[in-house]
């Protein structure tokens, strides 16, 4: 049975008036493109679902959709999204939230419409009265005692946190005129804190089957000839040497340069720059 289909896409489905489910696949070529495009920035980016309320938007008005961001585990391939309300239209963008806060779109989902919520709690008592039936108001959100299905306990816990961070209304908050910025930062402990570091990614391509070494360490060469290696980036001068040798050992090439890192290195606390967690 195929595990993946090699196609970048995200598909959104309605589970019920308050939950949607999205699944996605990021094809290897897309991942490689992103890695090439973003360079080492990709390692400071976070896989993000941007849930947009597009109610009315598809009717031709300008794209003024508000959205909520859900940071998902880098290896997740599906997510149950509680950030929705009945009788609204939604779309989800899968992308990367970059360190700068910018959103790099990877794939955009189909649009779904959640169903209207009806007077299910009272229909058994009131069904005989047509007038009462007419007068019924939408019921308040039923308590979903059972937790939604999720790929693992870990993700479940993480999503619970998101739910809390998003407040009672889920995307309701987003639908309000000035929705609060929604993100992980809101669940952080009370003390403000920051940990940051930088690492180095060396990457390239050569003839498939070649032997590649980066500063003496053998790099795995993919079937298409590409390779990449991620390594620590200590303070100081770091000479990098990439060598490639053809499979028959008759040809070889060498590229080298020096990377210099200055400053305090791995840091905790201090400065008040942008927190990359807070995507938007």
């Amino acid at each position: 049975m195929p595990e993946r289909y090699g196609e970048t896409r995200i598909v959104l489905q309605v589970r019920d008036p308050f939950w949607m489910h999205a699944y996605w696949e990021i094809a290897e070529c897309t991942a490689a493109d992103l890695a090439r495009e973003l360079g080492d920035e990709i390692h400071r980016s976070r896989l993000t679902l941007r849930v947009s309320d597009v109610t009315g938007v598809e009717l031709g008005t300008i794209d003024s959709a508000r959205h909520a961001s859900i940071h998902v585990h880098a290896f997740a391939d599906n997510w149950y999204i509680s950030a929705c309300e009945p009788d609204r239209s939604y779309r989800v963008d899968l992308g990367l939230t970059l360190a700068s806060g910018a959103f790099r779109l990877i794939a955009r989902s189909n649009v779904v419409r959640t169903p209207r919520v009806g007077p299910s709690e009272i229909r058994d008592e009131e069904w005989l009265s047509i007038r009462a039936l007419e007068a019924m108001k939408p019921a308040p959100r039923p308590p979903y005692a059972s937790s939604p299905g999720l790929p693992s306990g870990k993700l479940r816990a993480e999503e619970r946190l998101r739910e809390i961070s998003m407040g009672s209304g889920g995307l309701g908050a987003v639908s309000s005129p000035a929705g609060p910025v929604i993100g992980v930062a809101e669940v952080a402990p009370r003390q403000y804190w920051l940990r940051a570091d930088a690492e180095l990614i060396v990457y390239g391509a050569t003839e498939p089957g070649s032997h590649v070494a980066v500063s003496g360490m053998t790099a795995r060469v993919a079937a298409d000839g590409t390779f990449s290696m991620r390594m620590a980036l200590p303070i100081g001068e770091l000479p990098i040497e990439v060598t490639a040798e053809s499979a028959d050992q008759l040809m070889s090439r060498r590229v080298s340069w020096t990377v210099t890192r200055t400053g305090p290195g791995y840091g905790e606390g201090g400065h008040d720059g942008n927190d990359w967690n807070d995507g938007k």
Binding site: V11, L105, P115, R116, P148
Partner: protein, 550 residues
């Protein structure tokens, strides 16, 4: 009989997933079919035919799923059922001997023996091995209205992103119904009552006049239906939607509040398969290495106790008659109340799974028989009709768009879209898309081997889409089988797709698949190409990779 004040529409939905394993006879899942034939389909047919023979007036709607109809007409399953019912008759016969000195069980043993023999003779003599023949005759005689459901009972709300697949489920079912029964079905049972706005346009295209939703599908329709579920509405497409009445449903469905839980009815779980020694019951088990229900059960529900009391047939029949009377009484009161507030006769729609009657609720067929007789002779307030009868009398109805809904737990999609089964959708959606792509790339005429491979791909997709697999994964029994079936159809499709694409077909393998997954001999893969929506799906799935950073 004076003019009734309102109507009741009883709908029996008969469905089993396509389970047929020519490769061996140890598949206990095939027994689902044999048991349902023995305990539900044939007894229901016999009951309805008897009423028709006595000219008791009644109208009932029966939905026969295309998968079930295919199994009923399949020679291999017919011959296996013939062996099964022989074995069961033999075991029941031995039971009458074994229980000779146990008066508390002996009468019941004789009841089973007689009953199974009646079923066997009806199967061979009247039905000539095909129970659908009997239902077709009842339909021709004007007693029942035969309708269909989606081709393999695919759960339609989770096909919204691949509308060509939903459309193919509907069109293929209607074509198959027409081939078997000679008429276009007037109605369609949406699998699990699963509706999403827009699916009705395909029903319209297929020539279907009506379908059913759960109560909230109608109650939450927009604009708000004036009469709730007690009158059908027209979708904007012009197809009528009838809503399920919750009260009549609950009385029959609910194991605790409903009739079937009564202490005098037969206990389902206490089967001789678990009480008697293995060698004794083994002939009925075939090659199955485990004990499964025989259908011979000597105890009554008794109460919430492990100490079950022996079954007494007369008591159970008395209760079935009393419950039928209660059911009718409640419908009369309901109709009287509704009629006073409506400018048309109300209709109460009471749909049930056919397997409830006889298999789960042993006395269910007798209950239904009493309901039909009592409604015919004991009152003048209500009359049994089919949805078509109602639409013929009231061709005008309010126009409103039903709301997405199902009759599953919590009323939406969460049974079929849960942590245990959501893994199937990336496959099902991709297969649907690939099927459309194949249908468009390989427009007819195609060389015979290619055409056959394309048709087989369509079969594998449809078989993978049966709502039963996701349901079983969620329900938690027979999960291995449901997972294995899903895997099989996904991987068979995957190989067919790549072999067709690479012009590398293994004809022998395709022939074997045609024998194994042989549903819908006349399936036409081009059903996946003609959809006006096809291009929309392609667009939707196109990866939206832009370099723009917002």
């Amino acid at each position: 009989m004076s003019e009734p004040r309102g109507y009741a529409a009883i709908v029996l939905h008969a469905h089993l997933p396509y389970v047929r394993h020519p490769e061996g006879d140890a598949y206990l899942e095939e027994k689902w079919f044999y048991e349902a034939l023995t305990e539900s389909y044939i007894p229901l047919y016999m009951m309805l035919a008897q009423l028709a023979a006595e000219e008791v007036p009644y109208r009932i709607t029966v939905s026969l799923s295309p998968t079930l109809v295919s199994m009923c007409r399949d020679p291999l399953l017919q011959s296996r059922f013939s062996q099964f019912i022989d074995g069961l008759c033999e075991l029941a016969e031995r039971e009458t001997l074994r229980t000779r000195w146990q008066p508390q069980f002996h009468e019941t043993a004789r009841m089973y023996s007689d009953r199974f023999k009646q079923v066997r003779s009806a199967y061979h003599d009247t039905l000539r091995s095909d129970v659908t023949r009997g239902f077709a005759e009842l339909a021709n005689g004007g007693r029942i209205e035969l309708i269909t459901t989606a081709a393999t009972h695919g759960y339609l709300p989770l096909m919204e992103v691949c509308p060509s697949a939903a459309r193919a489920q509907i069109l293929t079912a209607v074509r198959y119904h027409r081939k078997v029964f000679g008429t276009t079905p007037k109605g369609m049972w949406l699998p699990e009552c699963g509706y999403y706005p827009g699916i009705d346009t395909y029903l319209r295209e297929a020539g279907v006049r009506y379908f059913f939703t759960d109560a909230h599908g109608i109650e939450n329709a927009s604009p708000r239906p004036r009469y709730g579920v007690f009158a059908p509405i027209y979708c904007p497409s012009g197809v009528a939607a009838f809503g399920r009445d919750m009260e009549s449903s609950k009385q029959v469905w609910s194991a605790h509040e409903g009739y079937p839980g009564d202490s005098d009815y037969r206990e389902f779980y206490r089967d001789i398969a678990y009480d008697l020694d293995w060698e004794y019951i083994r002939p009925l088990m075939g090659d199955c290495p485990v004990r499964t229900h025989t259908g011979i059960k000597y105890y009554r529900v008794t109460g919430r106790t492990e100490h079950k009391q022996p079954y007494v047939r007369e008591w159970a029949m008395g209760k079935a008659a009393a419950h039928a009377g209660n059911f009718m009484f409640n419908r009369e009161r309901q109709i009287e109340h509704l009629a006073s507030a409506m400018d048309r006769k109300p209709i109460v729609v009471a749909p049930y799974d056919a397997e409830l009657f006889g298999h789960w609720w042993f006395e269910g067929p007798e209950f239904l028989e009493f309901v039909i007789r009592k409604i015919a002779y004991d009152q003048d307030t209500i009359k049994l009709v089919t949805p078509t009868d109602y639409l013929d009398e009231y061709p005008r109805a309010q126009v409103a768009a039903p709301s997405m809904s199902s009759w599953g737990y919590m009323g939406y999609n969460e049974v079929w879209l849960a942590d245990c089964n959501h893994w199937i959708y990336p496959h099902l959606h991709m297969m649907a898309r690939r099927m459309s792509e194949l249908a468009e790339s390989y427009a007819p005429p195609q060389p015979d081997p290619v055409r056959r491979a394309l048709n087989q791909a369509a079969r594998e997709l449809m078989l993978a889409q049966s709502s039963d697999w996701a349901f079983i994964m969620k329900a938690g029994t027979c999960v291995d089988y449901a997972v294995a079936r899903t895997h099989d159809h996904i991987s068979r499709f995957d190989r067919l797709y790549s072999d067709i694409r690479s012009s590398n077909l293994d004809h022998e393998w395709v022939s074997r698949l045609e024998c194994t997954d042989n549903i819908f001999p006349d399936i036409d893969y081009t059903v996946y190409s003609a959809s006006p929506m096809a291009s929309a799906i392609r667009e939707m799935h196109t990866p939206a990779i832009s370099s723009a950073i917002s």
